[in-house]
């Protein structure tokens, strides 16, 4: 208990904020360097279970890099080095013994741009299931339907399961990739500005979906949209220039931020974002 408290700077996060909550993700002294510049500098972050946590901050502040540490997708980027500790569901993500496929199965991810595979809608959702060796048509169909229902897409695509996923609208595609991620029963969902490409109505539907997902999943949501963070997140973390400046309950951070920088950013006095 005390170790965790030590790791968190009181100026960044009120000490009793997450008292009694289970943690889904945790970063301790996490630094990340690309070949030429430092993207994250000694970040300490705790993401509680079954809550929506929003990551906000100006573009280029390292939000996406931080997100990709939790499923180690940063491994794919040449010249990217990580130091510090990352715990995912209590396990050390960067330990030698960590099996990447299993880690990534348990930590689903939704990208900024919907990235359905150029296959049918059903095959997209069944992609992860097939990796588990599921072959039975019946079981696949059941699970595909359940995942699509959970993502709120079933009613729209039930007659188009065999159509190419590329023919869905952007909003539908984004919910499809959420369904694809949900199908393998992850425990955490990482979302990297998932609504930035969507029109207002799709965004609204998407936000409702995120609120509903909160019942069963721990969600870490990167967003540029302050209102979105305020609407869907329980907790909000403010990141700037690779440092975690403030972490608090969402209503408090939006109404009564403790740092001047946070306030400036939220009220739009320093909005150079959207790179």
């Amino acid at each position: 208990m005390s170790a965790r408290e030590d790791a968190v700077d009181a100026a960044v996060m009120p000490p009793d904020l997450l008292a009694g909550r289970e943690l889904a993700l945790e970063a301790r002294g996490l630094s990340l360097d690309y070949s030429e510049r430092r993207a994250l500098d000694a970040v300490n972050l705790q993401v509680p279970r079954r809550r929506v946590t929003a990551l906000i901050g100006p573009s280029g502040c390292g939000k996406s890099s931080l997100l990709r540490c939790f499923n180690r997708l940063n491994d794919e980027i040449a010249g990217c080095r990580v130091s510090g500790e990352v715990r995912v569901l209590g396990l050390d993500a960067y330990a030698e013994t960590t099996a990447l496929p299993e880690l990534r199965r348990r930590v689903g991810m939704v990208f900024q741009k919907p990235n359905p595979f150029p296959q049918s809608v059903a095959d997209n959702v069944a992609f992860g299931l097939r990796l588990a060796g599921l072959r039975s048509r019946l079981e696949l169909d059941d699970r595909v339907e359940a995942a699509l229902r959970a993502a709120g897409l079933w009613e729209e695509v039930r007659d188009r399961l065999d159509d190419s996923a590329l023919r869905l609208s952007a909003g539908q595609q984004q919910r499809l990739v959420i369904a694809r991620a949900l199908a393998v029963e992850p425990e955490v969902l990482l979302m990297d500005e998932p609504a930035s490409m969507l029109d207002p109505i799709s965004t609204l539907r998407f936000e409702e979906l995120v609120v509903a997902l909160r019942e069963r999943y721990s969600v870490l949501l990167v967003t540029h949209n302050m209102q979105q963070a305020a609407r869907v997140a329980d907790y909000t973390a403010f990141l700037q220039a690779g440092r975690l400046l403030e972490f608090d309950a969402t209503d408090r951070i939006f109404t009564n931020p403790r740092l001047r920088g946070t306030e400036d950013y939220i009220t739009g006095r320093m909005r150079e974002d959207r790179g």
């Binding site: 009694g20 889904a24 569901l89 209590g90 099996a99 990796l131 393998v184 425990e187």
Partner: protein
């Protein structure tokens, strides 16, 4: 603070767990396969020169037997480049800088198709049709080439000065099509002129000694190499940002000035690389030389005599050579020589192209 159970055991999670070992094993197999493939490539790249080296033999009389072949190869490649560069480079400049985009989209794959024309087909045409024709009409060709550049300059001048502005606007980008008629006229004219000149004393000097000579080889080999030169040079020229030329034109340069002073210098490494690779290809080309050169090992630079190149000599002699004999050793020696020269040219071209890439990236 309670720590979550690291492995909630849903049925799906269990299935994933059961399958993990199998999947990891497959991953290992794939990696092994890929490493083996990479190893194979490494072995192949090493084995090629080593095998040639291992069987090559330097007999005391190697020089008179190998050097004429080398001279033949160089002569053929030189003539080929002389033919290919004006054609290929001219086409590349026009295609990259002046052609309407639709033409460019059509021309690029068309030239790729021409690059794919089998050498043996070109060799056939060179040996059976071009060679006998040239024997009669060397002078016509000479006249045609000599008058070509003046004709083009004159045509450009006439068009710029005399054609109404409305025509010029309507034909913008398609001027090249208008050259077709003067070209055909010139061809007819030079044919007639060549025949008329055939009776003069000059004609005897220029009469080829054999139907299969350096001129025929150069023409056809040049045609074969031209697409290579074209596509490399075109890539280099096209990679130079259009803003550069537009900027120069905004400062008052004409299109030709922009081309000569700006684009060609910037794209020069790419153009030089195209030259080097074209030369290397011409050196290694076998069938055209084999069929159209007469295969007489002469050492001179005259386009009117035959030649025998290393590559053609390999195709002629290697199937009969007994392994281990002195002739076999010399064959491999000549092959090693050819291999070395081509390798050198390729490496050089790669270096030069790297420079172009850096230069364009800096713009």
């Amino acid at each position: 603070m309670p720590v979550p159970d690291p492995h909630p055991a849903s049925p799906l999670a269990l299935r994933f767990a059961r399958r993990a070992a199998l999947r990891a094993r497959r991953e290992c197999w794939l990696q092994l396969g890929l490493r083996l493939a990479a190893g194979f490539l490494a072995v192949l790249a090493l084995a090629m020169p080593l095998f040639l080296l291992g069987s090559a033999r330097l007999t005391p009389d190697w020089a008179p037997r190998v050097l004429p072949l080398l001279a033949g190869s160089l002569k053929a490649a030189l003539y080929a480049i002389v033919v290919a560069v004006p054609l290929g480079l001219g086409a590349a400049i026009w295609c990259a800088r002046f052609a309407p985009p639709a033409w460019r989209a059509l021309l690029k794959p068309l030239f790729e198709l021409f690059e794919a024309v089998p050498a043996v087909v070109l060799g056939l045409i060179a040996a059976l049709l071009l060679a006998p024709w040239l024997l009669q009409h060397v002078l016509s060709l000479l006249v045609f080439v000599a008058l070509l550049v003046p004709l083009m300059i004159a045509a450009g001048f006439v068009w710029q000065r005399l054609a109404p502005a409305v025509w010029q606007q309507r034909c913008a980008g398609y001027e090249v099509a208008l050259l077709l008629a003067p070209l055909l006229a010139l061809a007819a004219l030079s044919l007639a002129a060549g025949d008329a000149l055939a009776a003069t004393a000059w004609a005897a000097l220029l009469q080829p000694l054999t139907p299969w000579n350096g001129l025929v080889v150069g023409l056809m080999l040049g045609l074969a190499v031209m697409p290579t030169v074209f596509s490399l040079a075109e890539d280099a020229l096209f990679a130079v940002p259009a803003e550069l030329a537009l900027g120069a034109q905004a400062l008052g340069a004409t299109r030709w000035q922009a081309l000569w002073r700006l684009l060609l210098p910037v794209a020069a490494p790419g153009v030089v690389a195209a030259l080097l690779l074209g030369f290397s290809r011409a050196l290694g080309e076998t069938m055209i030389v084999l069929m159209a050169s007469g295969n007489t090992p002469l050492t001179n630079v005259s386009p009117l005599t035959g030649l025998r190149s290393i590559a053609a000599n390999l195709a002629l002699e290697a199937p009969q050579a007994a392994p281990g004999s002195a002739g076999y050793g010399l064959l491999l020696l000549s092959a090693l020589l050819l291999f070395g020269i081509c390798l050198l040219l390729n490496l050089l071209a790669e270096q030069v192209r790297g420079r172009l890439r850096r230069r364009v990236a800096g713009l």
